[in-house]
């Protein structure tokens, strides 16, 4: 259950990354769908709105143009009431065939002069006076020279006398004309025309009026327009088969067009670029969508973080607890409920139940081990009647010393069991050596000296006894280096082993042996004090002195924790 952070295998992505990925992908898909929809519908709507704009432009144009024509007609009607003009025309008409050339010139000069004065008062491009046969009598104004005398006025549409306004071609130019009759008592004697040249300036004015691009086409030829050259040329090329309204692709751009008015073979078209309008509309839509997308992404990010944290934090807490539990084997691990979600809590509960049962099993196993080891130690002590209960007593005394030395509880537990097993290696010492009453030979003593190493070897086969091995192996080492089996010195000897060494010596001195009687506690302490610093660690001996009253009765007997009284 340890964290596998250092594992070389490729790791799956973090939960946060996954959540983020899923949410962002969803958002992106949604946004793409919205984008596509917006693009399609924007274009469609723009096409409709451009067409509607042209239609309303046409209506406005029709209204304004109608009014303008009426105003022009009213202006022309006022101008037509010029008495001199009318008298001269009527006289000229009556006598043109009979009068002298000089007289005719006088009349015409009078007409010209009068017409020039009238023309100065209007802003028409030309002012034309025609007789009852619609033949030009005189013309004045900026483009008056385009209307030579004697030339019939060919109205582009209908019979001239029936037409009040229309389009007339004169002098290579196209004119929009408004006409009023000159009358003498309801009898027409001529016609006055106000003409406006259909040039680009006219188209520009019309464009601002209709709020659209303007193209004027006459007899299939472009007369004037506000469109770019290439676009206008393409429109002209397609003008022959032109419907009154619709859409067309001109110079790669989509346009909606509508005929504002048709005068004879001359048509006035209003055009609106769909692409341009939809670009603007799409730009706005994209900007708004981008804002929404950014907002959605930010929200998704926050939501992902929150979601991932909600999921990963309890799991992380759980695994951290497990990791901590894994570092202290045997510790009873109980995880707190995170309260974040039912699933995680269930997991926690299940784990806690599992841990409880594992701990219980472990406890039972350890208890069984400890029991059997204690039995083994007891049995070992029982080989020699003089050493009966020795291991138990050393264990109790060692624990007392360790407590005195303020060792941690974990260490104390290791010492308790280690001390119980410290002589386990004597199992391999033959009885004749172990139980020999007399002095040992060199060889025999060497056999005795093997027991710490033998004990360590025995314990190595039990994994949970590994921490106890130093006690067993090193409990005969001395600070001055004259101990066995390795001859370690001072600080090289672990504290556990030092404690057990002192406790072992004390118990040996206070126990009866075949070759001597048991000595009292005070003697034993004095004896041990004598060798403090050489055979024993002084610090541990100090602790023994302090701890001893707590573990012995007044008679100097050692009180064993399981209540057994052992004779000193």
């Amino acid at each position: 259950m340890t964290a596998s952070t250092s594992s070389p295998a490729p790791q799956p992505p973090r939960l946060l990354v996954r959540t983020l990925g899923v949410i962002l992908a969803t958002v992106a898909l949604l946004l793409i769908a919205v984008f596509v929809f917006v693009f399609v519908s924007v274009r469609d709507q723009v096409r409709q709105s451009v067409a509607a704009g042209l239609e309303s432009g046409q209506r406005i144009y029709a209204a304004v143009e109608n009014r303008r024509q009426r105003e022009l007609q009213s202006q022309a009607a006022t101008l037509a009431e010029n008495p001199t003009l009318k008298a001269t025309i009527d006289t000229y008409a009556a006598e043109a065939r009979t009068a002298s050339q000089a007289r005719i010139q006088e009349w015409l000069a009078t007409i010209d002069n009068e017409l020039e004065k009238v023309a100065a008062r209007v802003d028409s491009d030309a002012l034309i006076l025609a007789d009852t046969h619609q033949t030009t009598l005189a013309a004045a104004g900026r483009l008056g020279d385009r209307w030579p005398r004697g030339r019939p006025i060919a109205m582009a549409a209908g019979k001239p006398s029936d037409t009040i306004d229309g389009v007339v071609r004169a002098g290579g130019m196209l004119f929009r004309v408004v006409s009023v009759p000159l009358q003498l008592a309801d009898v027409p004697i001529g016609t006055l025309y106000l003409a406006e040249n259909l040039d680009d300036r006219y188209a520009k004015e019309l464009a601002s009026l209709a709020n659209a691009e303007i193209a004027i086409v006459s007899d299939g030829l472009l007369v004037a327009s506000t469109l770019p050259q290439a676009t206008a040329r393409e429109f002209e090329a397609a003008a022959a088969s032109r419907q009154p309204d619709g859409t067309a692709v001109l110079d790669g751009q989509a346009y909606a067009f509508r005929r504002l008015v048709q005068l004879g073979s001359t048509s006035f078209y209003a055009l609106g670029s769909i692409d341009e309008s939809s670009r603007a509309a799409t730009r706005t839509a994209i900007r708004n969508l981008a804002l929404i997308a950014a907002g959605a992404a930010a929200l998704a990010l926050i939501a992902s973080f929150w979601l991932a944290r909600m999921l990963s934090e309890p799991v992380g807490r759980l695994s951290a607890s497990l990791a901590a539990a894994g570092r202290t084997p045997g510790a009873r691990v109980q995880l707190a409920r995170t309260g974040s979600s039912r699933e995680v809590d269930t997991l926690t509960d299940t784990f806690n139940a599992l841990m409880a049962s594992v701990a219980k099993a472990e406890e039972e196993t350890q208890a069984a081990y400890t029991g059997s080891i204690r039995a083994l130690a007891t049995a070992l002590d029982a080989r020699d009647p003089y050493t009966a209960g020795h291991s138990e007593r050393v264990s109790v005394l060692s624990v007392a010393i360790a407590r005195e030395l303020k060792l941690p509880d974990d260490d104390i537990e290791v010492i308790r069991l280690g001390a119980l097993l410290h002589d386990i290696g004597k199992i391999g010492v033959p009885d004749e050596v172990l139980l020999k009453a007399g002095a040992l030979t060199e060889a025999e003593f060497n056999i005795i000296k093997q027991h710490p190493v033998a004990g360590a070897r025995i314990l190595r086969s039990v994994p949970f006894l590994l921490p106890h091995i130093p006690i067993v192996e090193l409990h005969h080492e001395r600070p001055d280096g004259r101990g066995y089996p390795h001859g370690l010195r001072g600080d090289e000897i672990p504290m556990h082993a030092r404690i057990v060494h002192v406790a072992d010596a004390y118990d040996a001195i206070t126990s009866k042996r075949a070759y001597r009687n048991a000595r009292p506690s005070g003697d034993a302490l004095r004896e041990i004090w004598r060798f403090a610093g050489t055979e024993f660690h002084a610090e541990v001996v100090g602790a023994l002195a302090t701890a001893l009253p707590g573990v012995t009765s007044d008679t100097g007997e050692l009180v064993v924790d399981h209540g057994e009284q052992v004779h000193a």
């Binding site: 009213s74 010029n82 008495p83 008298a87 006598e95 006088e106 009349w107 009040i164 009358q183 008592a185």
Partner: protein, 226 residues
């Protein structure tokens, strides 16, 4: 129509009796004039009425009264009888609209309207301007040259009149019924003209016999196709 003819027959008889006293042998010409063209044709599409004020209060004279019937170059010799006639200005109209006079005649132009009028002409036969004058005043103009004289008012641009100045006395303006009569015409072969200032003229040949009446009916400008 038949009754008209009978009536004319009686007139003719009377005039023949009167002519009988004259030294020269003369006859007369009589007939009926029909106008077949529409003269007053305001343009249907003109949204603005004429500027004339109160012109329609008085009933307009019938168009037939604007026709003059005369002989073309009858070769009149002798003293031309000069007349003195009036051409009124009333209700912003020249009344009558068409006048036929002999050369040397004088026309008075009395102003009957409560505002100023003007009389002027640019015609070759008589170019004049009588200036502006108020109600009750009158100005005269003598016409000493044959020809058509168009008369206008420079205040009221819709006013116009035509004065046909002839160098012989053989002319007539038909009555409202279209009938005319030219008397005391020397016997001979003539061309008779029916003239209207707008719709044009129509000519016909006529032979006048002494003491007799020649009948010439004219349709101006053209005969109706039946």
């Amino acid at each position: 129509m038949l009754r008209g003819r009978v009536l004319f027959g009686a007139c003719l008889l009377l005039s023949a009796l009167a002519a009988g006293a004259q030294p020269q042998e003369t006859g007369s010409i009589a007939g009926h004039i029909r106008l077949t063209a529409r003269v007053r044709a305001p343009l249907p599409a003109n949204p603005y009425p004429s500027r004339a004020i109160g012109r329609h209060e008085a009933p307009a004279a019938p168009e037939i009264r604007n026709v003059v019937v005369y002989l073309r170059d009858p070769g009149f010799k002798g003293a031309l009888p000069a007349s003195h006639v009036e051409l009124h200005q009333e209700n912003e109209t020249f009344v009558p609209h068409v006048l036929a006079i002999t050369k040397g005649s004088t026309v008075d132009f009395p102003n009957d309207d409560p505002f100023f009028h003007n009389v002027f002409s640019l015609s070759s036969a008589a170019t004049f301007n009588l200036g502006r004058y108020p109600r009750g005043k009158s100005k005269a103009q003598t016409f000493n040259k044959a020809g058509l004289v168009k008369v206008f008012c420079d205040i009221h641009s819709h006013m116009s009149a035509s004065i046909l100045v002839l160098d012989h006395p053989y002319f007539a303006i038909p009555g409202t019924d279209g009938n005319y009569e030219i008397r005391n015409v020397p016997a001979g072969q003539y061309t008779i003209i029916g003239w209207h200032e707008r719709v044009g003229e129509r000519a016909a040949s006529v032979r006048v016999d002494a003491g007799r009446q020649a009948a010439v009916d004219l349709t101006v400008p053209v005969e109706d196709v039946p």
